[in-house]
Structure formats: structure tokens, C-alpha cells
Symmetry: C2
Subunit: 430 residues, 2 copies
Amino acid sequence: MLDYLSCSKEVLLKEKANLEATYKDYVSQHLKLDMSRGKPAGSQLDLNNDILNTLETYITEDGTDARNYGVLDGIPEAKKLFSDLLGISEKNIIIGGNSSLNLMYDQFVRLMLFGTQGQAPWCQLEKAKFLCPSPGYDRHFAICEDLGIEMITVPMNEDGPDMDYVEQLVREDASIKGIWCVPLYSNPQGICYSDEVVDRLASMKTAAKDFRIFWDNAYGVHHIYEEHKLKDIFQATKEAGNEDRVYYFFSTSKITFPGAGVALMASSLSNIAEIKKHMTVQTIGHDKLNQLRTVNYFKTADGVKAHMKKLADELRPKFDVVLNTLDKELSGSGLLTWTKPNGGYFVAVDTLDGCAKETVALAKEAGVVLTGAGATYPYKNDPRDCNIRIAPTYPTIEELTTAIELFCVCVKLAGVNSLLEDKLDEERAM
Amino acid sequence: MLDYLSCSKEVLLKEKANLEATYKDYVSQHLKLDMSRGKPAGSQLDLNNDILNTLETYITEDGTDARNYGVLDGIPEAKKLFSDLLGISEKNIIIGGNSSLNLMYDQFVRLMLFGTQGQAPWCQLEKAKFLCPSPGYDRHFAICEDLGIEMITVPMNEDGPDMDYVEQLVREDASIKGIWCVPLYSNPQGICYSDEVVDRLASMKTAAKDFRIFWDNAYGVHHIYEEHKLKDIFQATKEAGNEDRVYYFFSTSKITFPGAGVALMASSLSNIAEIKKHMTVQTIGHDKLNQLRTVNYFKTADGVKAHMKKLADELRPKFDVVLNTLDKELSGSGLLTWTKPNGGYFVAVDTLDGCAKETVALAKEAGVVLTGAGATYPYKNDPRDCNIRIAPTYPTIEELTTAIELFCVCVKLAGVNSLLEDKLDEERAM
């Protein structure tokens, strides 16, 4: 493998010519491939089609007619299923509609308008800030931006957010009201929070009495290679006397159907009571028939786990293609570093500084859509312009193979261009 | 029929003894009947069960996989169905989740947090007020109460809200930000807004630039006896140059399944753009499979209308029982007045002043649950304590017959008690 960082100008120029020729070939193929969003492929969704025919009854186990109005926080059997799956007591769970993002947004809205546990509504504060471990999930950051909450970028380490930095910030600044977390197979890096990180998040001193962790366990059962055991955040906060600190989110969007799954949130009893007080004004209840479908389809938590093994078998070859191609094309090149996730939906890469936008633009011109460069940072601003999220799940293996090979060409081309510019700058400076 | 108002004390005392004996008989039957909420009966829901098996495909007519993420504002065929049914252009419609109440609440939240058309967010105002034609829908009023919006009670006339009063209020007070309307077969009186009322609402001068009509057309196709043609509010506001004034809401909750229907909102293009800007942060999209189910089940707007005829046939006998029994038992009694709705879900009655709470309490003690007295007024405060909402849809005909007969006994008993107290007061004053 050519180590581009130690190449002479001449070698880089020759390589640039080669890469441009290869790139031109790709452009002439008029590709139309999408690696931009964490969407399951049609073939993956086909594995779940039986859920549409599992509505054996519309009467719940406690005799409720699921077709009719009522049951604000979810039918008992759905609560039980997710309680068993996630190790959270049923009484701490609210089952929502089809979108955990919607539950997160609505929880932010409640904090904005009503505050929590007697603290002032956030919309009345001069400033409310939120910690955003980055790279992170663009839709999380969009909620803060929409609501006018100032985002503070927190670096990610290999075992979660940089806790030294987090602890220092939250101890000193009462306007910092919380932190976004995707604790398992994080979006986009696939990082798993260590026990120590979970404990520190749960127990750290915060200047804000109403500091809140938005614990988006979106990939809680989405193991692809090895299974990481995530420490129980509720147990940790309970031990630390901070039971009200966590709002936990989960959904079956990437288990059954993204458009028609079942979402839930979980929190302390005191928080749940507070949420229901407002939720009961907002809606009479969510779709109970879809909750029943989900329960009838999986039967038990073990049913979900068995299903996730099937999905992992479907996804693993795709992650293999991405990781193997990156390894083959760019390992030792000095142009790219990347994470090797054990689960989740993404692979995150770092190009040379200042090369992410160009790489994404080159791929786009050749017909391969990636998540916009910068999207993984608050305000879409990646200060080093280096992070790119790769979503391997939607294309077929064949499409993905082409797309990722092209991607490697784009990484190299952008990298070589950048290195050549550096050389030029050096020459000018001499 | 005994005219209770002109009875002597002696006759009333005798009648009271008779009524108490009858009432005691009912109590001894240990009834357990519910006329409290506008819920369809199981037998009515059975008429819709086929919708659960109508998902012939999960690919929409524009080729979207409805199982997957995407399509924020509804699949094209769902928009078309409701566009045809309601006479609203598809581009003015956003299809939501399973609850129009949720769409209303979320719209209020957006007004609170972001304001509209450049006006200040309502949460930043010293005071925001809302007009509440009453008797009205308790869940509308609960939204205002939850969000701290001051409610102003507006009397209802036979053709809609008292528009002289409304026009005067909104012309003078810029803190009045809008009005709740159920324009067709209103909840609870079954009143239909006249063309003149619609025109005056659409064209009236408002001190608030961001005055908004929440047009909850919940019973827009729920004709039971004669069909009332509601004037097109969008046409009226357009003609008056007030296109942004209306948020329109509708759902299939009382067409298919209350727990698993499809809700929508409609508004001006400018408002729709504003809403989508925030909604796209709140969710990736609502349940498209359920939208497809609904479209496949009805096929066309005419399909919905034909279905509503079946539902009307199911509901008419229930309304007949209520109206005929009231007529037989209380017409000319002087103790009760009531509306004769042509559609919708309710019959509203007015007892003698100060008798509603006692009537509801008597019924409850005998095992018949009615909507709480006062619930049809802001802050649950019926100033005359006379209005009671009867919801005849949920019980069977047999249950309903018993329940409404008992109800008449309770009305009489409370009425006689009240008249006897008046006599006592008169005697004391002599």
C-alpha cells in the first residue's frame, strides 16, 4: 500500500492522473447509488412481512379492544415484551407511536414549555445549552437547532464521550441542560459506552438541577459481530441518587419496519408521571393495533433476539464489504482512518483534515450519495472537515461494492489533491 | 306530561316520592353502563374489520416502499382520497399519525414556541387568550389549560358561536389568538355552523395578526339524519384575504378505528411550509402502511361516503332511543331542553340551572357514567351548572334504553329537588 503522506510531489502527480482516469470511468457508468441514510434494504424488510398478518386478535390480554380509543401509555403485553427485552420495569415505560425521534422531540418540547421537577421551563431561560458528543446523529442536533438550544460539541473517545471534558462543563455551567447519547453502536462511529462512562454520566455533579441525559438506545439489540453488554443506566443513576436524570428511547424501526414500528420511552416514575400529565392532553392513545402486531409477531424478548440474529446475518456481509474494501484500498495509505463497529447501522471514517466535503462532492458527481459532510456535527459544522458517515444497509451487496470502491477512489483523489496543495504551499513558502 | 314548573309543593313532594322509589329500583339493578365518551361500540368497529386485511401491497403509487422511512406529509394516494372527500387541494394537506388531537396539540406547541408568519411565539407573550364556544369539546379546552392559554367562554347559538360577541372581542383584544370550532355536528350539541357564521369567522377583523381558527371538522362526514352542507372555510378565508387564518383537522378515528385511524391537517400553503419545517425535525414520517390500509379499504371518497351510510344506519337507532325517550319522558316537563342533532356523536341537554352536577351524580350512583357535568365548559366550569353531554354510541341499544330511562329519572329527581328548594326559599322569604 502506498503511504501517500510520504510521497514526493512527482509520485502524487502521477497517482492523481491515475485516480482521475479511474474516477472518470466511474462517472461514465452513470451510477445512482444511495449510502446516505440508515435505511434498511427492501430485502431486509421482506424478512418482516409476516408481521402484517399476525393480528390474530384485537383484544388485549386485559380485555381492552385495541381498535377503540384509550390506553395512553401502551398495552400491557407490549410493555412486558420491551421490559423483558431491555431490562426496564414495565411501570417505567411509555409506548408511543411509530417514531422514537418524535418521542424525543416531544420530550424536548415539554422541557421547553413546562420544565421538569419544578425547575423553570427552558423557553424562559436566557440560554439553554446541550452537549453533543460528535460525530453524532444529525437528527438529534436538528432538534436542538429547531428549538434554539445552543449546542456544545464534545469529542468522542473510543469508549464514549470525553468524560473529563463533560464533567468539567456540566459542573460549572448551569445553563447546560443535558447531553445526547447513543450509547450502543453509536451513530455514526459504532462506539459502545464503557461501564466507566455510563457510571460517570450517571453520577457526575451538574450545576443544572434539571440536567437530562437523552439516552437514545436505537441500536440496543442491533449486534452484528460481537455483542457488547451496555451497563444499565437506570441502575447507575439510581445508585448515584440521580434517578430523574435519564430519558431512555428505543424503537422497532430498525427491527420491523422503519415507517411502521413501535417506539417507546422510559424514565423514573416521577418523570413518567410528569410526561403522562401532558401526554394525556396531547393524545387519547397511540396505535394499539400496531403494538399488538408487534407482540404477536415476536411473542417474547427471545423472539426479538432471534429475529435480530437474522437481521445481523443480512447486514454482516454489507459491513464486511465496506470494512474489507476500506482495508484493502486505504489501510496504511495515511489518507483515512475508520471505526470497526460491532453493531448498529454505520461506519464512520475520517479523511485528512479538509477533505470530507471534497470526497462527498466527488462521490456525488459520480452518482453515489453519501450523508452530507459535516452532518455528524452540530450546526453541520465539522471543524476539521474530516468526518463522513457511511450507511451500508440500503444498497444491495453489488451496489455497495461498487459504491464503496468508488468512495475509496474519491478519498484518494481528495487526499492527493490536498497533499499536492500542501506541497505547493510549501514551495511558495520557501 | 306534567309541567313541573307549575306544580304545587304538594304535587312535587308526591312526585319526588314516586321518583325516589323508581330510582331505588334502578340502584338495586347494579347497572354498569357508560355514556361518557364518544366511543364507537364494538359492533360498529366490527363493520371495519376488513381494513386489517386490505394491505395488498406496501408499494405506493409513486413507487415508495411504505414499510421504510420517509414521506413526511403522507403518501399521494392518501392525500388524494382526503382531498376528494373534503374538497381540499392535496398540496394543502398533511397526513399525520393516528390522532387529530395530537396534530392540534402539536400545532399549538409550534405557535407557543415559534409563533407564526413572523409574529412572536405565544410563550413569550404576557398573555395569550383563546375563544371557546361552549358547550364545547373538553379535550380542546384541556389543550389550552395545559399550555396556560386563558380561555374565554363564548355562547353557542343555533347556527354556531355568537358572532356578535366574537367579532367584538377579537377586534379589541390583540391577546385573543384564536378560536376553537367544531363546525359540523358540534361536540356536544350537534350544531352546524351556518354560511353566515363561516363567512363572519373568515372575514372578521382581528386585532391579533396571528389570530387562528382551529377548525376541527371531526364529524365532517358523520351524517345520521339529514346531511348539512358546511360552507368551505378555505374559500371564505381566501375571499376575505385571510388565507393563513385556518388550521383544519380531520381523522378517520370515527370512520375506521379510533385507536388506529389516520389523521390530517390542512392549511394555507404558507402555513403548511411553516409546519413542515418543524415537523421534519420532529419525525421522519408517520405510519404509511396504515395510510395504505385506509386507501385500499375505501378506494375512493365515494367509498368513504358509502361506508358512512352504514355507520349512520348503526348509529341512528341509538340516537332515536335517546331522542324518543327524552321526548316521551321530558317533553313539556319544563325540566330539560336538548338539541336534535343531524349527525355527529352526541346529544347535549340543559337541565334546570344548578341541576347538572346532581343529575350526573345520581346517574353515577345508579351505575350509569355520563361525561362529568361542567366538562363541556372551559376549566370544567359550567356557570349555570346545566349542560350535560350524552354519548349514545358506545352502549348497546338495550343498555342505552335502560341508561337513558334512568337518566330521565335522574333529571326529574334533580329537577324536583331543585324546585322544592325554591319553594322552601319562597316560604322562608314570606
